[in-house]
């Protein structure tokens, strides 16, 4: 049996896990995790085999590609309707393989972690059923080779995200957050749907052979160039609109922080490591399309880097531990889009992978913290936890160092590559903002560490005595996730300038690199590149130092007390910025004003128009008919002989007219 024939199992197994758990899970009670976790374990093994085979070059060459190794399977024809034909097939190329590694690894660990985290929840089986449904959707999204199948998967991840955010649906805030996520995502999805339609129209505009196959359609669009009826820039931006929704980029970023209402494993899996990366994946997947429309790429870069700084500025003052991480996720996703926008495709996917692991780790760690302090999420009620929960502390510290960009951890390599590439590819403004965001990142992460793990405990004393480390089922995934957080950068990011991941992804992005005329400058460790590395490490260190100074630390032999007066002094000096950050730049209020108040008025006016004019017309037609009927009713006397007379007269008229008109 070849590896290729195992690809459909990646979808079928979690699907079966979902169906079985949904049907009989309630009866399995606390044993409900066996089927879903088992399914994902097998999926992980298959995915690893596939990824190894594809990335090591053992897999055959893809059809129509000169260098890209991978597997492609055609399954069946989904929609055969005249010209409109949609085939379902899967492709595992190096890009999908990278995503597969992150999705299945983090997915598996989150499944295992949930056994411990959700053990007291009455909806235990439901949770695992949803998790498996999510895995189905995400794997379908990564593997599908047709725009329409990607769109279906796109909606399915949205659905599972909705179900899992609203998992505790009796809690009003969770229910509202789920709805918010769903609705905000719809806005982006409209763009994506239009984008797919534009691709369909463009792909057959000249020779009439429409296609929705991703690779073929992009090739055709590029070959047609300016002859496309819908400009490539518009098409690319519509696809990007979908990516903005799913990856929570400004101005559609408002749903992600609220999504933290869901259980923490969900935040780790969906809202940090996998689903929110779907937008990055989508843009990377359609990279030649974007490369052919450089203006669209500049917009991608601008929105990405703006989201990065916006979210980082908000993360600085949030007090909810999960919200800090959520804004951090937004900010890191912003980095990825900035990287895509400047044309540093590989750097974006590199950061996607490292971020998937270390942000998954940080979220699972925060879940362990929340578990320990009895469902408290407010960091002002924490402090000094490093003594009580050492494993969680150690792993979260590793995650925080990684995201701050300190070598040799994973985050350093990927973030440095994004910033360095941005600078070298002629986007110094992206680099400058990115460097500033790097300071903020290091600062808010070590503020989080300071408030949570160092200093003195500030919560109620009764809880302090009961705080204990999470069970091994939760700490072991943390420890396992810490491994790639430390080593993935070394493994993928070396040697500098010709890294492993570049080797993997080069064929996928070769066309775009050519389109953008990116020249391959020689890597200069003791020149420009070394200077850029130095700058990004230095700003990370500065951010950490400032945070430690203000919020204290107990790192090894280093003991610094927290200085709340100084923090207050600082915030009092920039009251506007402080309030803006604390209130998330009033985006929720702005949306309320725009869509609830103003939009509500418009809707009300339209409602009036509909009720009075449209309904009035329809009802008027009805009333006229009723009146006419009432008048004509008297013709019907109910007397048989009246009707008979009518028939006889009719007969005479017909016979007479026949004689007059035809008979002569």
């Amino acid at each position: 049996m070849s590896l290729e024939s195992l690809i459909p199992l990646l979808i079928v197994l979690p699907m079966a896990g979902f169906a079985m758990t949904a049907l009989v899970g309630r009866r399995l009670g606390k044993q409900a995790h066996w089927i879903p976790v088992g399914a994902i374990l097998v999926v992980w093994l298959i995915a690893m085999g596939l990824a190894y085979s594809v990335l090591s070059g053992a897999a055959p060459l893809l059809e129509g590609a000169e260098e890209t190794h991978g597997f492609a399977v055609q399954l069946f024809q989904w929609i055969p309707a005249g010209d409109f034909v949609v085939d379902v097939g899967f492709v595992v190329d190096p890009l999908s393989a990278c995503l597969l590694i992150v999705v299945t690894s983090v997915g598996l660990l989150v499944h295992i972690y949930s056994i411990g985290y959700m053990s007291h929840d009455p909806g235990y089986w439901r949770f695992f059923a949803y998790l498996n449904l999510f895995m189905v959707s995400m794997l379908l999204l990564v593997l599908a080779d047709s725009w329409l199948v990607v769109f279906v998967a796109w909606e399915l991840v949205g659905l599972s995200s909705y179900l899992l955010i609203g998992f505790w649906f009796r809690k009003r805030s969770a229910m509202l957050a789920a709805k918010k996520a769903f609705i905000v995502n719809r806005v982006g999805d409209v763009g994506f749907a239009l984008g797919i339609m534009a691709i369909w129209v463009n792909s057959g505009a000249i020779d009439g052979a429409h296609t929705l196959n991703i690779r073929e359609s992009i090739e055709k669009l590029l070959a047609q160039g300016d002859a496309n009826p819908i400009p490539l820039m518009a098409t690319a931006l519509l696809v990007f609109a979908g990516a903005m929704g799913k990856s929570a980029q400004f101005p559609l970023h408002v749903w992600l922080p609220d999504a933290m209402e869901g259980p923490t494993p969900v935040s780790a899996l969906i809202h940090a490591a996998t689903m929110v990366n779907a937008g990055v994946y989508l843009v990377a997947r359609s990279n030649p399309l974007f490369a052919a429309a450089p203006e669209a790429l500049v917009i991608v870069a601008a929105i990405g880097i703006f989201t990065a700084i916006l979210a980082a500025s908000i993360a600085m003052t949030q007090t909810d531990i999960k919200r800090v991480l959520a804004y951090s996720t937004l900010s890191q996703l912003g980095y990825m889009f900035a990287a895509l926008g400047v044309g540093a495709w590989t750097a974006a996917i590199f950061h996607l992978m490292t971020h998937g692991f270390f942000k998954g780790l940080l979220f699972l760690g925060s879940g362990s913290v929340i578990h320990a302090v009895h469902e408290e999420q407010d960091m002002r009620q924490m402090g000094g936890l490093s003594k009580k929960i050492p494993i969680t502390y150690a792993t979260m510290l590793i995650g925080s160092v990684a995201i701050s960009g300190i070598p040799p951890l994973a985050g350093f390599f990927s973030k440095d590559e994004i910033l360095g590439e941005a600078f070298k590819l002629g986007f110094p403004w992206v680099w400058a903002i990115g460097i500033f965001v790097a300071i903020l990142t290091a600062f808010y992460m070590f503020r989080l560490m300071g408030l949570t793990f160092w200093g003195a405990y500030r919560g109620p004393g009764a809880i302090w005595d009961k705080i204990h480390e999470s069970p091994p089922i939760m700490t072991v995934p943390l420890i396992i996730l810490a491994v790639p957080t430390v080593l993935l950068g070394l493994f993928l990011g070396l040697p500098l300038g010709a890294s492993t991941i570049h080797g993997w992804l080069e064929p996928v992005f070769a066309q775009s690199v050519e389109l953008l005329h990116q020249s391959e400058a020689e890597y200069q460790l003791f020149g420009i590149d070394g200077a850029l590395i130095g700058a990004s490490v230095a700003v990370g260190a500065v951010g950490i130092a400032v945070a430690m100074r203000l919020f204290g630390t107990d790192l090894g032999g280093l003991h610094l007390p927290a200085r709340p007066e100084q923090v207050r002094g600082l915030t009092a000096r920039v009251p506007f910025l402080y309030r803006a950050s604390l209130n998330k730049w009033w985006f929720d209020e702005l949306n309320h004003l725009l869509f609830m108040v103003i939009g509500g008025r418009v809707a009300h006016a339209l409602w009036w128009f509909d009720r009075e004019v449209v309904d009035g017309t329809v009802n008027g037609v009805g009333r006229v008919t009723i009146g006419a009927g009432k008048g004509l009713r008297h013709v019907q006397t109910g007397q048989v002989q009246n009707y008979a007379l009518g028939i006889a007269l009719g007969l005479i008229v017909m016979a007479g007219s026949y004689l007059v008109l035809v008979g002569r």
């Binding site: 006397t637 048989v640 002989q641 008979a644």
Partner: protein, 103 residues
């Protein structure tokens, strides 16, 4: 038997006119059914006459006439049954008092 087709057609026309008049003018439901039979038979007569005088039609005229008789018999059966059913409710055979549908 007359040699002229016209004589038969005139007779059929007269019968049909009597039948139509009876159907339109009589108030008794039974009489109206009888008038319908009269009209049907007038038509039957004309068909049989055409069949006899036009060789090309062959046996078709007679066959159609037989079919009309069968249908007429069925119609008379159903019609009588309806009239009797209504009579049981209304206690009258006069159709101008059957006015339940004029509401």
């Amino acid at each position: 038997m007359s040699d002229s087709l016209d004589a038969y057609l005139v007779l059929a026309g007269v019968l049909f006119a009597i039948g139509s008049f009876g159907f339109l003018a009589r108030r008794n439901a039974i009489s109206m059914l009888m008038s319908i039979e009269l009209m049907l038979n007038a038509v039957n007569l004309s068909i049989v006459a055409f069949g006899a005088f036009i060789p090309a039609l062959g046996a078709q005229g007679s066959i159609i006439a037989l079919m009309v008789m069968a249908v007429a018999a069925a119609e008379a059966t159903v019609g009588l049954a309806i009239v009797i059913a209504i009579y049981r409710n209304k206690k009258t055979p006069l159709v101008d008092e059957y006015d339940a549908m004029s509401q």
